[in-house]
């Protein structure tokens, strides 16, 4: 097989750098009305000692099952409002210890009840240095990306509904490093976002032997999204070879749901 040669020739100075920046606020939750115009100001702050270049994009955003935002290109997907958003500047340079404001305007769509989501994404990089030589420049580039998440809803128009897709326990053996865990997957089948909290009741021979909190950060689930809820049971070894029933109970504004599973700890 042919060996691949990668030769990168730039001087070392091009390969070192530092960035320190923030955007405030980082999450915006709001309510709006159909056809209404909402305006937001975002402040980009360069706290570093060098100037920064920022390119700004309006993008879709979703959450993965662990609640981590997934930023994707603008689309026509239901619940994604990036295409209804405008910003007053698409890029700018900010000097050291300086800040810059950008203005975001949302024209709330009509006929799309429920929640609407988008992200304003700041892609930052150090401004390119002007060099006299016409040789290859920036063979390696490093940048930062910081999205501001917009979580909106047309007031009183969304349907809140969540169902439990499945519940399971992790595989044995269980140790301190790998304790016994119960995991439930919830799906939002409504038209707006919900914040879900949950716990799980453990029973043996119809007697309650424990109550565990189900953890999932803020528990936010966007419409059609799924999210893991996990509980760790440290005392599982006390019930080895016994049949346990677990009832997971979830609640959110406007509803509740539950799921029962049974298992035997080896």
């Amino acid at each position: 097989m042919r060996m691949l040669l990668l030769i990168l020739l730039l001087p070392m100075t091009a390969y070192a750098g530092m960035m320190s920046f923030s955007v405030s606020p980082s999450i915006i939750k709001y309510e709006t009305v159909q056809g209404g115009i909402k305006a937001f100001d975002l402040t980009f702050i360069n706290q570093g000692d060098n100037s920064l270049k920022a390119d700004i994009q309006i993008m879709d955003f979703n959450l993965d099952k662990k609640g981590v935002p997934v930023i994707t290109n603008k689309s026509n997907n239901t619940g994604q409002w990036a295409r209804f958003v405008a910003i007053d500047k698409n890029n700018f340079k900010v000097g050291a210890k300086q800040s810059k404001k950008i203005h975001v305007t949302l024209k709330t769509p009509r006929g799309k009840p429920g929640g609407g989501y988008f992200a304003v994404v700041f892609n930052t990089s150090a401004p390119k240095l002007k060099r006299k030589s016409k040789g290859i420049q920036n063979v390696m580039t490093i940048g930062g990306q910081l999205p501001v998440l917009f979580i909106g809803e047309i007031s009183r128009s969304g349907k809140r509904k969540v169902k439990v897709l499945k519940g399971a326990v992790n595989k044995a053996p269980y140790t301190k490093e790998k304790p016994f865990k119960l995991r439930f997957v919830l799906k939002n089948i409504g038209t707006t976002h919900v914040n879900v909290t949950g716990d799980v009741l453990l029973r043996h021979n119809k007697k309650v032997i424990g109550r565990l909190m189900l953890e999932s950060g803020s528990g936010l689930i966007l419409p059609q999204g799924e999210r893991y809820f996990v509980a760790t049971w440290a005392k599982s070894d006390r019930y080895a070879n016994k049949k346990i029933q677990a009832e997971a109970r979830f609640s959110y504004v406007g509803g509740r749901t539950s799921k029962k599973i049974s298992f035997k700890i080896p």
Partner: protein, 166 residues
Amino acid sequence: MPINFKIFVWLLCVLPALTNASGTKSVDMQVQADIHASMQMQWHRIEVDDLHYQQMKNKIKLKPGWVLLPYGLYVELQTNDVSRIVSLRVNNLISTNKIDTIATDSIYISHNGNALVTAKKDLAILDPEDRGLLKKHVLLFVIKTNPTQKPGQYLANFKFVSNTLP
């Protein structure tokens, strides 16, 4: 420490004294401090002769046809935000003549000498538990070569993606 927080502390100390000095008997005061979430990162390229490179290289098991790039990244990251997660994103390598590419399917990352992971997905390098800590990362890159790839000089583009967990 953010400037706003300093102003808040300063106001907290100075305002009661000022109001007493003005002769008023009492004052209702509400002070609101706004501390921005921020991310700070510092990096430099490490070469083959760098100690970090050598230490991490020794932990990587390479198979025939795999090429360890002769450079890596040394990164220091810090955030003050409990709900922030930082990931490394690697884009396709693009030849300097902009004709050939090496897709992320063939690129793998070793994070602090750990087993190779694909560059197709963002690699989480800073979790909410790391809040306030200065985390140091050594990132090395491996290319699983195949006959369709062409030798030459390539541009690499790395991005540190900082996400707030909503």
